[in-house]
């Protein structure tokens, strides 16, 4: 290195930047002659400064330099380098410098080193010291190329001006003449008051630990410091700038600005490597943190353990007390000037009627490891579909986690303060709901990222990921935002209905709009007079003459995501009664698709379809979710049914709606589990950080207070919370496991049949005949299906029922004849067709089996969630009740999960009234409940005596016996149970009660069953949950045993360390042992069932004046 050319830079005032002067100082210290090249300006002033700092010569670039073409500027600098023969070009790490240094190195065919921190001369030549890997690695290089560009992060040498210096020579170099055109002005980003961060002597560095209030206090302190004349500035961590508490330009760290202040006061900053690298070159670092073990506390010069907000307040008070009169006047003047200034844009939420100060968001951390363990080791979601192996699924899971942790979690608290806003008035009739800031971006990112396609089958253009994986995605998304999770799931539910029952237009046009996020799906069931009793629906549909369209009139309430500004259009799935229908109740209901804006064949949204948003509901929780009252005022709708004419005669809307309803029940359980899991993780972190009192285990070994986590009572609470939540995951994943396996089995069998059919080599005549017969078969099947539905309709009309049965017999004979006809055309074809039909029946059987889980997932997981959140809030103490602690909001949001899609009491009635009944069988005659019990017993038989789970398995076996007895009793499943019923209700098994007495006994029995339904479904769910947690435990113990045997884990399994695996074993045993997880009442069900039913009950027994408990 013989001589150096420095790329000089000017600050906003036009003076030479300190960074340039430090580079000159370094050349002086290393005795290297240095020229400076810089933009022309106030030459006398610039030359005076540069000569005082030892510049050899200055090259002024004239022309359009501030708004430059890097190529043009670099070519000019390269020409200067060649002219004066320099072999090293130096510059700072500014964006412009970096471009020019690298471009020039490229032109010269030389080398370039970034993040340079020092240049020394050793025996073997020059040595360049630089940093890489966010400051974790220091490199020392000897430049070998003839030309080297160095981008300095810092020089380590202070700039000092010489008092007398010779005049420096100046040369000009013109850089005009570029094809690059600059449009408009440079838009200067918003910044805080004070000097530029990189030029500041004092930097107040604010982290997420102090929250929004801390940022405000830090800004006050900055004003104080500026009033004293200090060169101070404020910056923050990425979390703080991402939450818009400080401008993006003030972010310190590897993806922000490195600072080199003489003093940094870091408050609430943990000191992650990416942030640390931005402050590590500063003189003194003061760190204030509640966590004495935070990384920054180990690296700071003055680490202070304490509350950052309180510290800032005290410091501010002390500094204020020390102000002189002149400084006080300066502070007052600055404060008044700030008040007079218009509010900065971007940090004030534009949505709110009154400005809301942005609030800090508690960070969200998704435990991806735990999800991966369950996905790939217990439920093996990667083993069924070759298209979705672990290598593909695991990164997707992590990507969704990143999306939830950042995009969904960002600005959540502020949004919750702002709520959705309803804009009444004619001018807003087409779009009346505005969501809080940030939701729209997160909504669009979800669909832009392709997550909306996970759910959709491949034949409709989707990705068709396994159901089990999809459930975990849903858990992550709902942990980020239950509002957004619900909106996405409603769209998926609408898509599900259209996939199964929609016509070609709905499948080709609406489904792509739904999975692309252009359309929001909704579910329009409830009306003011029709809640749980949907038979009372009053919305009507009237067919438009000569058309397949219907006119829909009616009002729907509680419509989640019924209107908002995130999607372009809405696909409302609406329950309504066709006016001409004679049936009553739910049998009269049909299902319609009603877009808010009419949609053409190409999927474009057009004219307004008269779906008016009358208001939004004012709710206790989920205030960012737009829940609307919709008025269908002559809106046009299309019937969702495979055959329009059939549907008009015999509606089947409820059957179709239950597809969506059951899907939403499952998703509601998952949304609840997401809240519980996020709370478990938050509570665990808080409990390990917060110290209170001294725990028993710390007596004699710790002087101060213990982390709450050390207290046995809290450990128990955390174990209950985690065990219950993982049990919820297990219950749900068992449901998806059945669905995934049956989907794949069907797909596999149908593919095999299709292949064999292709290989049959049927003649064209045979194909024509088969097509004819198949058409007839389809028609007969449809009529048979309708007849089956009709059996329910006419079950109280013996004559009509007999006629229907005769019709069914004829139809079955017709179907058999058609099958025989197929056999005459091609026996092989007929056999293959029978195989495909059997595969479809098998799939239907598995769905029947899976349906017993659906209500349990909805009710049990949402109930458990409330219990877990309550415990979580208690574990926090008083701070748990404060809005800034996420559990408080989650608790408010979660309560509706127990209510919608059928309250949890209705779910229990479904379980007891339908699912566990002896006549709930599949096509093979297997009773669904018995199949479930057999599955659990199979597991018990395999694991009885399993060393670490012996007691738990034995308890589950005992519980299964009790559960089966309970079920047999209430359903009178066996002759012995029927006899016991007669004895109990009529005094003797041989009693002959009259009709009235028999009806009274039946009524009382039905009441007893209803009254204990919730308990029964809880017990049933808990037994399944225990079984699933033990499955997880066995998988964990299996890995532990492999490790003990010296088997090296696969690279992707190394994350499951011994502690994690032992934790899973512990949680499985804890669930079974803890009465807070697995209710011991099951072992005493008889007492509860026979004696605790509150019957008869009069309201006067509970309250002397009923009005007091009346709610408007």
């Amino acid at each position: 290195m013989k001589s150096v050319l420095i790329i000089g830079e000017r600050d906003a005032s036009g003076a030479v930047q300190n960074a340039t002067l430090e580079l000159l100082a370094l050349t002086q210290a290393r005795k290297l002659p240095a020229d400076v090249v810089m933009e022309d300006g106030d030459r006398p002033r610039l030359l005076q400064t540069l000569s005082a700092h030892g510049a050899n010569r200055v090259w002024f670039l004239t022309g359009n330099v501030s708004r430059y073409s890097a190529r043009k500027l670099a070519c000019a600098i390269d020409a200067i380098c060649q002219k004066i023969g320099v072999d090293s070009l130096w510059g700072s790490s500014s964006l412009r410098s970096r471009d020019l240094l690298s471009y020039c190195a490229g032109l010269a065919g030389g080398d370039v080193i970034g993040a340079v921190r020092g240049v020394e001369h050793g025996p073997a030549g020059w040595i360049i010291t630089s940093e890489a890997y966010a400051g974790r690695v220091v490199r020392r290089d000897r430049p070998s190329a003839r030309f080297t560009s160095l981008a300095f992060a810092s020089t380590g040498v202070a700039a000092t001006a010489r008092e007398s210096a010779a005049a420096v020579a100046a040369e000009s170099f013109d850089v005009n003449g570029s094809d690059v055109r600059f449009v408009g002005d440079v838009v200067v980003p918003e910044r805080e008051e004070g000097v530029q961060l990189k030029d500041a002597d004092v930097v107040l560095d604010v982290g997420a630990g102090v929250g929004a209030k801390g940022v405000i206090e830090a800004k006050k302190l900055l004003s104080l410091l500026l009033a004293t004349g200090a060169r101070a500035s404020i910056g923050g961590t990425r979390v703080v700038t991402d939450a818009a508490l400080l401008p993006r330009a003030t972010q310190i760290g590897v993806s922000g600005i490195p600072v080199s202040a003489k003093l940094v006061v870091a408050v609430g900053v943990s000191g992650a490597p990416q942030h640390w690298v931005g402050i590590k070159d500063c003189g003194s670092i003061v760190a204030v943190n509640t966590d004495a073990e935070a990384p920054l506390m180990r690296m700071a010069d003055v680490p202070i353990h304490g509350d950052g907000l309180a510290f800032l307040k005290e410091l501010g008070a002390l500094m204020t007390a020390g102000l002189t009169d002149a400084q006080k006047a300066a502070l007052k003047q600055a404060t008044e000037a700030k008040r007079a200034r218009p509010a900065a844009t971007g940090t004030v939420a534009p949505m709110s009627a009154e400005p809301v100060e942005p609030l800090s968001d508690a960070p969200l951390k998704v435990d991806v490891r735990s999800l991966e363990f369950d996905a790939f080791h217990v439920y093996k979601v990667d083993r069924l579909d070759p298209a979705w192996n672990r290598e593909k699924l695991a990164p997707l899971l992590r990507k969704v986690a990143t999306y939830a942790e950042s995009s969904l979690n960002r600005g959540k608290r502020t949004a919750e303060e702002i709520h959705c806003r309803f804009l009444p008035g004619e001018e807003n009739e087409q779009q009346a709901v505005v969501t809080p800031p940030g939701l729209k971006e997160a909504f669009q990112e979800y669909y832009r990222s392709g997550f909306g396609r996970f759910f959709v089958p491949r034949r409709f253009g989707g990705l068709e990921v396994p159901h089990g994986f999809l459930d975990l995605v849903s858990e992550i998304v709902n942990a980020g935002s239950v509002t957004m999770g619900t909106a996405f799931e409603l769209t998926q539910g609408a898509s599900l209905i259209l996939q199964n029952f929609g016509n070609e237009w709905m499948k080709d046009v609406l489904i792509p709009g739904l999975y692309d996020g252009r359309f929001q799906g909704t579910m329009c069931l409830t009306e003011p007079q029709a809640g749980s009793d949907l038979g009372a629906v009053a919305t009507t549909a009237e067919r438009i003459d000569g058309s397949e369209l219907f006119t829909i009139n009616g009002t729907k309430i509680f419509i989640t995501a019924g209107d908002h500004d995130m999607a372009e259009n809405f696909v409302h799935i609406v329950l309504a009664k066709i006016k001409s229908i004679s049936q009553r109740g739910t049998r009269a209901i049909s299902l319609f698709v009603v877009p808010k804006f009419w949609i053409d064949e190409e999927g474009r949204s057009g004219e307004f379809n008269r779906v008016f948003t009358q208001s939004i509901e004012h709710k206790h929780g989920m205030t960012t979710s737009p829940t609307t009252v919709l008025k269908f005022d002559g809106a046009r709708g299309l019937l969702i049914a495979p055959d329009l004419e059939d549907e008009v005669l015999q509606p089947s809307g409820m059957k179709a709606m239950f597809f969506m309803m059951n899907y939403m029940r499952h998703e509601t359980g998952t949304a609840a589990r997401a809240q519980a899991m996020a709370t478990c993780l938050d509570t665990l972190i808080y409990n390990t950080e917060r110290t209170q009192g001294q725990a028993v285990i710390d007596r004699g070994r710790l002087k101060g207070p213990s982390p709450i986590f050390h207290h046995a009572s809290q450990k128990k609470v955390l174990l209950d919370m985690f065990a219950r939540t993982l049990a919820g995951r297990g219950l749900t994943l068992r449901l998806t496991e059945i669905r995934d396996a049956s989907d794949r089995a069907l797909e596999h069998e149908l593919e095999a049949v299709a292949k064999e059919m292709q290989a049959l080599g049927l003649s064209s005549e045979q194909q024509r005949r088969i097509a004819e017969i198949e058409k007839s078969v389809t028609a007969v099947d449809r009529r048979l299906g309708k007849a089956e539905v009709g059996r329910l309709t006419f079950r109280k009309d013996p004559a009509a029922l007999a006629a229907l049965e005769r019709e069914q017999t004829i139809l079955r004979r017709e179907r058999d004849a058609l099958r025989a006809a197929l056999g005459t055309v091609s026996p092989a074809y007929r056999d293959l067709r029978d195989r495909a039909a059997q595969a479809r029946r098998d799939k239907a059987d598995e769905e029947t089996y899976a349906s017993i889980y659906t209500s349990l997932v909805k009710a049990q997981v949402t109930d458990d969630n409330i219990r877990t959140l309550n415990e979580g809030m208690n574990a926090y103490g008083g701070i748990g009740f404060m809005a800034e602690t996420p559990v408080s909001q989650r608790l408010k949001d979660s309560q509706v999960l127990c209510i919608w899609e059928g309250t949890n009491d209705i779910q229990a009635l479904n379980t007891v009234g339908r699912q566990i009944a002896p006549d709930n069988t599949d096509s093979r005659g297997r009773v669904v409940f018995e199949r479930l019990i057999a599955d659990i017993r199979e597991f018990i038989a395999e694991h009885r005596g399993y060393p670490v789970f012996a007691d738990s398995v034995a308890h589950v076996a005992e519980s299964v016996d009790a559960l089966e007895r309970f079920r047999n009793t209430i359903t009178r499943a066996r002759p012995a149970d029927r006899r016991a019923y007669r004895r109990r209700m009529h005094g003797s098994i041989f009693a002959r009660p009259d009709v009235a007495a028999q009806a009274a006994a039946e009524g009382r029995w039905a009441e007893m069953v209803q009254a204990s339904a919730r308990n029964f479904s809880t017990y049933l769910a808990q037994v399944i949950q225990a079984w699933q947690l033990l499955r997880m435990g066995v998988a964990a113990d299996g890995l532990l045993q492999q490790r003990t045997a010296g088997v090296e884990p696969a690279a992707e399994d190394r994350q499951f360390d011994d502690d994690f695996l032992r934790g899973r074993v512990l949680l499985a045993n804890h669930f079974v042992a803890s009465p807070n997880c697995m209710d011991r009442g099951l072992l005493h069900w008889e007492r509860q069932f026979y004696h605790s039913v509150p019957w008869p009950l009069k309201r006067e027994q509970l309250c002397d004046a009923a009005e007091r408990i009346t709610v408007a």
Binding site: S102, F182, S255
Partner: protein, 249 residues
């Protein structure tokens, strides 16, 4: 006319805290390779301009990234050389990319990330633009191509500016660029694409001479000496107030 985008694989920055130097080599406990975030931003940026593009990967790709490259919309994926970029000097990487761009013929736009997110190296855009002799615009937020000209928004030290420039041009995406973030809106193509392979080319085929092995000496940064933690209270507040007062004018 088409574009080319760079794809580098780097260490996951989240893993950096465990990174150390031992025997002049970088070691870490648990290190995962991920797509260089800036390059993905650049791909989405170029994709948003509607220009068909090819992806030039430095070194070999794993199966998932290869599939993702096609999913992003790349017409072809090239794997250049055998070493990943963070093992190579940036001037060599620049020469490789420039050679391949020239070889492809009708490439008019080259997009890449501003920074290699693990090493923090940020000079590749300038080097490769110089090697090609093209205009360079780094830290770009948006890109539109019309009539053989690029219209772009660029972040500079002073703020953001709108630029209109004739092609060819090399652009690097700014960290805050959020145009069409990954993975993609075309995930359904995964099935069709997973059997599609990339095209590999060696340094010799590109006509690039391999660089001599780097002779860098590596060391751990000096550790700051941990200081005794003091409790927050009047004394510590006074101490910090005193430190701050030293900077009064």
């Amino acid at each position: 006319m088409q574009a080319a985008c760079v794809m580098r694989r780097t260490y996951n920055p989240r893993d950096l805290s465990s990174l150390k130097i031992a025997d002049n080599a970088i070691v870490a406990d648990r290190v995962e390779l991920v797509k260089n975030d800036g390059d993905v931003r650049a791909i989405q940026l170029v994709k948003s301009s509607g220009t068909p593009f090819q992806i030039l990967a430095v070194g070999d790709l794993d199966d998932v990234t290869r599939v993702h490259c096609f999913v992003y919309g790349a017409q072809e994926v090239w794997e250049l050389g055998e070493s990943r970029s963070h093992r190579l000097p940036e001037p060599l990487v620049a020469r490789m990319l420039a050679a391949q761009v020239k070889k492809l013929g009708d490439v008019q736009v080259l997009g890449l990330g501003s920074v290699e997110q693990d090493t923090g190296r940020d000079t590749l855009p300038g080097l490769v633009a110089a090697a090609l002799g093209w205009e360079l615009f780094s830290n770009v937020l948006s890109l539109r191509i019309e009539d053989q000209r690029a219209h772009l928004t660029q972040v500079t030290d002073q703020g953001t500016q709108e630029i209109d420039v004739p092609l060819p041009v090399c652009v690097s995406a700014d960290e805050s660029c959020t145009v069409g973030r990954d993975p993609s809106d075309e995930y359904d193509l995964i099935e069709k694409l997973e059997k599609r392979g990339s095209r590999k080319t060696t340094l010799a085929e590109m006509g690039v001479a391999a660089a001599a092995a780097s002779a860098s000496e590596l060391a751990n940064p000096p550790e700051r000496q941990a200081q005794p933690v003091v409790a927050s209270g009047p004394d510590s507040v006074s101490r910090v107030a005193e430190m701050l007062r030293r900077f009064q004018a």
